[in-house]
Symmetry: C2
Subunit: 263 residues, 2 copies
Amino acid sequence: MLASQELRAAVRAGRFDKPTSGQAPGFVQANLVIVPQANAFDFLLYCQRNQKPCPLLEVVEAGGVEAKRLAPGSDLSRDLPRYRVFRDGKMAEEATEVSALWRRDFVSFLLGCSFSFEKPLMDAGLEIRNMTCGTNVPMYRTNIPTRPAGVFSGPLVVSMRPFTPEQAIRATLVTGRLPEVHGAPIHQGDPAAIGIRDLGAPEYGDPVPVREGEIPVFWACGVTPQEALLRAKLPLAITHSPGHMFVSDVREEHLPFLHYSVR
Amino acid sequence: MLASQELRAAVRAGRFDKPTSGQAPGFVQANLVIVPQANAFDFLLYCQRNQKPCPLLEVVEAGGVEAKRLAPGSDLSRDLPRYRVFRDGKMAEEATEVSALWRRDFVSFLLGCSFSFEKPLMDAGLEIRNMTCGTNVPMYRTNIPTRPAGVFSGPLVVSMRPFTPEQAIRATLVTGRLPEVHGAPIHQGDPAAIGIRDLGAPEYGDPVPVREGEIPVFWACGVTPQEALLRAKLPLAITHSPGHMFVSDVREEHLPFLHYSVR
């Protein structure tokens, strides 16, 4: 049994409801967004138009709960440690499973997550500041609009990691090879140039120190679609709870081949 | 005025209705598929699941005829030299414009085309056999099924170019960098391994000689979605006529940045 399968079994049995960071190391983790079929074309198109923040790994059509490509045998209504239920654009409740809420018209979207580029960055000899600090990565709302699709629109959200200019080049090369998990950075240097006023006050996560000689480096972030979801004010939508991701059976090394294989 | 804009203006004015190969060199050309909104989610998902044969460049929502990202000011109902109109899964007519048939619920899909990797292959010192022969590239139906989505399914169609084994490695490196236009090959060597019986009898295009010491190299092909469209037997669908592509204002060198930029 794979470590990812063991973790999902523990979650499903109610034995694990914590954040998934560091769990089943080496396996791809994913953001989850569930919307009714009536909104599914718009959301799929939103992801297609905004691939940096919304790198689609798999879509499960209405009537299905299994992510067949990422994790055969999985159940998206029970295999995440914690869910958020949104009603009319507001977070209504958190839950450890959503099988009782499940509807036949739910379409599920699994999106790549920057957890998958942290190990390649560390393997390249780079320090990830928020890991050193033992805190969540800082995330900021920018003044860069995403490309709208139907009812979905909103600002690009970015995550930030500080590096020296030389390290930033290396980090760009490493993450540029991983478009399935946000790819290369979208900005480096002056936060104000993308509408960020205060690095010390992130909209999500925790601030980290930027040391002398370092610049902040910004990546498109998987929180972006959640902002679009809030603005769309759908009657009902479900996501994972931040940090409580879907753990798949795909090894991180296989990510570059997920979309570019035909078998 | 860009060469691509000039060409579209000539097409729109009825002064050009020929195949677009070699026209407006350096600008990205695209396959066109138009389906009613009722089938648009399924087709968008089919493209998402089959990115090798169906690399989506832009989707134009219902009510629109302009490919705003690929070609501002364009009109998809008039700017292609030749269209095919399909009714109930059969080709009903060819037309030089479809503005009279246009419906408010039409959704248009523009897909990458292997024309865009021919110049990079030649720049890498490789001979493209069908260009030497002055014929259309040979295309074959394989026994590899595409991943179905709703009403859309069918076999993968491939294009073939012969190379020596060493040249095939070079061609893999060159096209592997261009996932927006089918990317790396999907097979090389034995045609029977992917269900091709006779290289001399392609289902589309013209056969080319494979010389002593060469192997056939196979790429996923943009004809694949047309096969899926035929099988889906939609009441109405429209595509470009083979070889009569949409000529965009995007330069081939900019393709790698189309989806990976946020501005």
